[in-house]
Symmetry: C2
Subunit: 474 residues, 2 copies
């Protein structure tokens, strides 16, 4: 063995002191953020482990293959809950439970439409969720064309008597999905607006940004004061076709037959599991995605991906031994698509325990990479959110607004009730190409993009749960 | 007026002589290729005019909008013929005529399938053209999985008794479409091969290269010695799904209900018009595309684009005043999709006049740019084909094989009967993403790419018709 020289010994001493100083300084940072010692290092380790490959893709592969479509309130959604309980238990989570609730059931039936005149041809369309049916024999009527919802709103009362309204406003792509709110109003409210003018049905251009023969479904609601009329969405190429025919100055006549049914009170539920905190287990940091999907596709991007991301993040934390001070609660929500009903049911059930719902975030915007972190927390907790942003910057996530409430759809009821929120915004440029269509299938998901999401969810959940800081402003 | 100097006069004299020499040399080239004087310059002018914007897009817009889907033998295809006669007449062509013939009619009915076990979910599929129906109530059977057609062929007789065969061989993209022949055999012949082993139905992975929930139809045939069984294609994502389930070692059970009908003897026809030649009008150079389409989409790329390209090329030549020596015959073929029946009917009708079918080419490979010129002509005519290639090189077309018979599907009967051929190969990398699906709609077409096709067709048609050279080897 070679003898150590004085110089070598001095070097070792210097290095040891440096490392100790670094560690001490790191632990001081932990402490300043209310974290246990080494907590930030643990978050970094979780992040880096996820980036090297998470199990998220396997989870969404399993859900979309072994359950497939899972419309809220159906036996398919019940199978998804069974799948979730079995999967979470197999992953080693303890005390997996379902919080059941009931919803008004709706199921799609047959649906078809044809352009009868001036140029007979079939149309590709799908019934909007919650729509009433046509009579069994369908309806047949002339079409009145409106470029936008505003134009429909401007139509005179009675001007659509006996007609089918068609509104063709085309949604545009945005990174943050903000166009969905604006254009989505046509889907949500168009039927009653058209009915108030006398229309007997409404067709809308799909609220979607693709150019495939893939109509987009999604939920709609009726104004209780107005007659309920059937509502359906045409695929974008079909809407283009009707626009071209309208531009020729021709009257279009359409036959429409949609046969959805209202199936009465139906059971659904939220599937819940906790990673129990060591110091304040009653306080929960919520992550999740929603288990239900529309019935047309297998719900891979909406929201199998979210289920997979949140579950894989929780599993990563579970497997890394260390436990946070607060509990991390994973919620796989039921009945999101039909009105955030899982979120409302959870609020109702836990409203006496609101103070313990510390903060939360949901993954429900597809399978793209996260590019931005938005939040709304107390001044006290802002430095911790800044630290999260700092740890996520190397994986492509930039801090956005610190005054942006919103944690994902299913947490909306809790956030409205005062829960602080954080959102990890995914790139949504392509999300509405697939959203609510038959084309929402596993092949659209890039496993590596999911890993980046898991990394961000793990960093958030770990740090939010391991701090003593209060996220809520008093 | 400024007086001309001696130097200026000398310059003018020199320039005049140069121009005359150039012209003379150009005309010598024309003459050497059997062309009328100035013919090559005319071809260049046609090319450049087309590249600045042809009317091809307007034509395919009109056909796909005003007719839409036009399955061979149906009243929709009859409307397409009416459209063609009216359109060609309106464009100024004289003596537009229909050569009618009859075909065995087949129409798609309802079609549905469900995976019943192990993971119940609907499947997206479409009946293959020419398939028999299931019983009214449908069939229900276990599925036997085969990765390739070769594996199906290797199955023992009787091994599929009472089962549904599923063959999942995935087609790959190629620029020249050559993979279609190999993979397409599964669609064309799979049913009888499966039936010969005892299968009661066959499901195939779509012969298509997309990953959308868009099953691809297309024609199939039965071996007359074997029991006819229903045949349908799953979309690629559905085939992926079944592969994943098969990989789990689970037995799949499927219900299938397809209700196509054989509609008996049905009328179809080829729509024909000539630009009459000045010296040998009985000799015809054929260009065209096919009017019929599958019923799922509006037949924009298959083959509205081909109709539009060939028609716009003929119109360009028509409008440029000068007439070629031979006639240019534009044929908008009927009933291509169901077995090149328009091509066979034309051969039957014109078989006594075969020698006057000088050469031809059809556009039937989508709306992508042409990248290659293949041909099979006499040695005498090869220099003219070389000249065509030279004129097309500036627009991105390279000479390919000069020993490659083939002029497009509808000309196959004529080429087999000895007609010389030339093919302007379009880039087919994306063609089978849309081919034979509901997604074959106008929005998939780039007008500028059509212009390049029109330029190439105009150059070919003009030069082939304006030469005295014989394309056929004696």
């Amino acid at each position: 063995m070679k003898k150590l020289t004085t110089v070598s010994l001095k070097l070792i001493l210097w290095l040891s002191l440096s490392i100790a100083a670094t560690t001490q300084s790191a632990f001081a940072q932990d402490s300043a953020l209310g974290l246990s010692a080494g907590s930030i290092e643990h978050a970094i380790s979780l992040r880096d482990t996820a980036m090297q490959g998470s199990m998220a893709y396997d989870i969404v592969e399993s859900l979309t293959t072994e359950v497939g479509p899972r419309l809220a309130g159906t036996e398919a959604e019940a199978r998804a809950r069974d799948w979730a309980v079995a999967k979470l238990s197999a992953l080693g989570f303890e005390n997996v439970r379902v919080e059941p609730f009931t919803i008004p059931g709706w199921e799609r039936g047959t649906e078809s439409a044809e352009l009868l005149a001036p140029y007979p041809q079939p149309l590709s369309l799908t019934t909007l969720g919650g729509s009433v049916a046509t009579p069994d024999a369908g309806i047949e009527a002339d079409v009145v064309f409106f470029p936008t919802l505003t134009d429909l709103e401007a139509a005179a009362a009675g001007s659509l008597n006996g007609k089918i309204a068609f509104v063709s406003h085309a949604m545009q792509k945005t990174q943050n999905g903000s166009s969905y709110g604006f254009h989505g109003r046509l889907r949500r409210s168009g039927a009653s607006i058209a009915a108030s003018k006398g229309a007997i049905a409404i067709l809308i251009r799909s609220i979607g940004t693709d150019s495939h023969r893939m109509p987009h479904t999604g939920s709609m609601r009726y104004d209780p004061e107005v007659k309920k009329i059937p509502a359906a969405a045409l695929s974008n190429p079909d809407a283009d076709q009707l626009e071209r025919i309208h531009a020729r100055g021709k009257t279009m006549r359409v036959s429409l037959n949609v046969q959805p049914t209202f199936t009465g009170e139906s059971t659904t539920g939220n599937v819940i599991v906790d990673i129990r905190g060591t110091e304040a287990p009653e306080e929960v940091v919520i992550i999740g995605g929603h288990l239900d999907s529309w019935d047309l596709g297998t719900g891979a991007i909406d929201d199998g991906a979210g289920v997979a991301i949140a579950t894989a993040a929780a599993k990563l934390i579970l497997d890394n031994g260390r436990r946070p001070k607060r509990s991390i609660r994973l919620i796989l929500w039921g009945a999101e698509e039909v009105g955030l009903l899982g979120g409302f049911a959870y609020l109702e059930r836990h409203k006496k325990d609101l103070e313990n719902q510390i903060i939360g975030t949901e993954s429900d915007f597809g399978a793209g990479k996260i590019w931005q972190l938005n939040s709304q927390v107390s001044e006290e907790a802002q430095p911790l959110v800044n630290k999260m942003a700092e740890l996520l910057a190397p994986i492509g996530i930039a801090p956005g607004s610190s005054d942006s409430p919103g944690a994902g759809p299913d947490l909306t009821p809790l956030v409205r009730a005062g829960m602080p929120s954080l959102r990890l915004n995914q790139d949504g440029n392509d999300y509405f190409d697939l959203h609510h269509t038959a084309d929402d299938t596993l092949d659209k998901i890039n496993p590596h993009d999911l890993d980046q999401n898991v990394a961000a969810f793990a960093v958030f959940a770990w740090l939010a749960a391991d701090t003593d800081l209060r996220f809520k402003t008093d």
